[in-house]
């Protein structure tokens, strides 16, 4: 039953995906013979920002396809945007393996929902809340899933775009971003996003922000994907690159005037 998956999932099937380790995380912190803590202390392979905006017909999500191993950009074809069911898309930044675990969990949820075969379907808002419960519960066990998740979808004409962080903070908005996107992209959104943009306008806005992120975020690469969800369905683009211009004035002598520079 779907309700049994709350609180991170006590589902035996989910455990099988994780050899020796349930999706729950360690189930207790104290014992007579304490074993070394297996809690997540830091992420290993991480993805950078995810951007999301609402537009006239639905939601657009965008991210690059880099998986960084610390300061090395080690994997350059990581898909960080995934479809969930047929009316929701999920983007994640942070630990890639945790993102894969979350995708597995959601796929199971969607399959179970589909098996009911009764005309009811989990919508994006329900999935958002479910993810929030999972993330918050893991945080309470001091073993978070190290992700910032962006979830977007549309159901019966109602658009939804929201974010869930690794500590269980969650909210909805017209435009969201994770990681560096919060600092670099959201100010641009605040200036330039407007209600009921067309698809072209939305894509242009996202491309502008992706470019800024590529220029300024060291863990971003020039290989992006965009996901689009409308009432008609979900499309995730093939990876594409944007034209960059390193000859811009701001890039000449970049440390001029900076504190401690010469």
């Amino acid at each position: 039953m779907a309700w049994a998956k709350e609180n991170g999932g006590n589902n035996k099937a989910a455990e099988l995906n994780y050899v020796d380790r349930s999706l729950d995380g360690p189930s207790h912190n104290f014992s007579l013979m304490p074993t070394p803590s297996k809690h997540t202390q830091y992420p290993y392979v991480t993805g950078s920002s995810v951007l999301g905006i609402k537009y006239k017909d639905g939601i657009l999500l965008a991210s690059d396809t880099a998986g960084c191993y610390g300061s090395t950009v080690r994997y350059k074809s990581v898909e960080r945007l995934k479809r969930i069911g047929d009316n929701t898309i999920l983007g994640a930044s942070g630990e890639i393996s945790d993102f894969q675990a979350i995708t597995n969990l959601l796929d199971e949820l969607i399959t179970e929902d589909w098996m009911w075969d009764d005309g009811n379907k989990l919508g994006p808002f329900e999935i958002h809340n479910y993810l929030n419960r999972v993330m918050y519960n893991r945080r309470n066990k001091f073993d978070p899933l190290w992700n910032s998740l962006v979830l977007g979808g549309i159901k019966k004409g109602k658009k939804y775009l929201g974010m869930v962080s690794m500590i269980g903070v969650h909210f909805q908005d017209n435009h969201v971003a994770t990681g560096f996107g919060n600092h670099l992209a959201r100010p641009i959104f605040r200036d330039e996003w407007k209600e009921d943009m067309t698809l072209e306008e939305g894509v242009k806005l996202l491309e502008k922000c992706l470019l800024v992120l590529f220029y300024r975020d060291r863990s971003a690469i020039n290989k992006f994907q965009m996901a689009n969800v409308t009432e008609g369905g979900i499309t995730i683009t093939e990876p594409f690159a944007l034209k960059v211009n390193w000859e811009l004035e701001a890039f000449r002598n970049p440390t001029k005037g900076a504190e401690g520079s010469w």
Binding site: M1, A2, W3, K5, E6, W116, D118, G119, N120, K121, L122, G123, F125, E126, N129, Y130, R133
Partner: protein, 282 residues
């Protein structure tokens, strides 16, 4: 009724392929006082016949709100019904906590049915002795289901369970084709007419029946005695107006009804042709 050999255990089959204990449990439902349910495109109405065990006591509570969008009426062992309604409330709350959206009534009904089935396949358990009429909403609209002690469930346009429910069912069978288009008030009046059939000699009053309604954008609510009494009184005025309307034949609904029901309807006095709009005291 002499079938003692194979009916000791719920886990014993009879040679005829029956589980007698389960059937005895369904008998318990038939002995309980009646519960009636009917639905339209926008609302579901539940009605119960309330029996007091003595003149001194209060009536048994048979209508339960499970969530804002689901409610039940029970017939049979009301103690078993209380336990099931606690389970249903818990399921609804859990679902709402995880998904922040209402549990679709169809899924809840299946969960209850699965729970009931377990009791028919364990030697240390006994089947639930209560039948439920579950009224609720989901994405596809309002629904009415019945849950049996056997673990079966089915969806209905209108149904009645409990003692003397056949009289109510006969009334519902006559009228059910018009229910989908009924307004909330009309639906409640139909329900009260059906309860009247089950009561037979007794006078219908807010003391011996209960009504609850749930609708799209309208949370489940058990009608308070005052509102209930005004509906009951409107049945009387509705009936008088109905007689005159039948004679003049002006009402469209009336002619539709004649089409559906054939010749017998006009002669019958109880509950005859009552779905034309009447002035209702509120």
């Amino acid at each position: 009724m002499f079938r003692n050999q194979y009916d000791t255990d719920v886990t014993t089959w009879s040679p005829a392929g029956r589980l007698h204990q389960v059937e005895y449990a369904m008998e318990a439902v038939k002995q309980g006082s009646a519960a009636i349910g009917l639905r339209s495109k926008t609302h579901v109405v539940l009605a119960t016949v309330n029996k007091a065990s003595s003149e001194l006591s209060a009536h048994q509570k048979k209508l339960f709100k499970i969530d804002n969008h689901i409610g039940i009426a029970m017939a049979g062992l009301t103690a078993d019904g209380r336990v099931l309604s606690r389970y249903m409330r818990s399921e609804c709350i859990n679902h709402h906590f995880v998904f922040e959206s209402p549990l679709p009534v169809g899924r809840l009904v299946v969960q209850v049915a699965d729970k009931a089935q377990v009791c028919t396949q364990r030697s240390w358990k006994r089947p639930y002795g209560v039948g439920l009429l579950v009224a609720g909403l989901d994405e596809t609209g309002p629904h009415l289901y019945q849950n049996c002690p056997s673990g079966n469930y089915s969806e209905y346009q209108a149904f009645a369970i409990g003692s003397r429910s056949q009289a109510a069912k006969t009334y519902l069978e006559r009228k059910f084709e018009t229910f989908m288009e009924c307004t909330k008030e009309e639906l409640i009046r139909h329900a009260l007419f059906a309860v009247k059939e089950s009561l037979q000699e007794e006078e219908l009053s807010s003391g011996n029946c209960g009504v609850a309604v749930v609708g799209i954008d309208e949370p489940f609510v058990v009608l308070d005695p005052k509102t209930l009494q005004s509906y009951i009184e409107s049945l009387e005025t509705g009936k008088e107006e109905q007689q005159t309307m039948e004679e003049t034949g002006t009402d469209d609904r009336q002619s539709l009804q004649v089409q559906h029901e054939g010749t017998g309807s006009r002669g019958i006095s109880v509950g005859a042709g009552d779905d034309s709009p009447t002035d209702m005291e509120t």
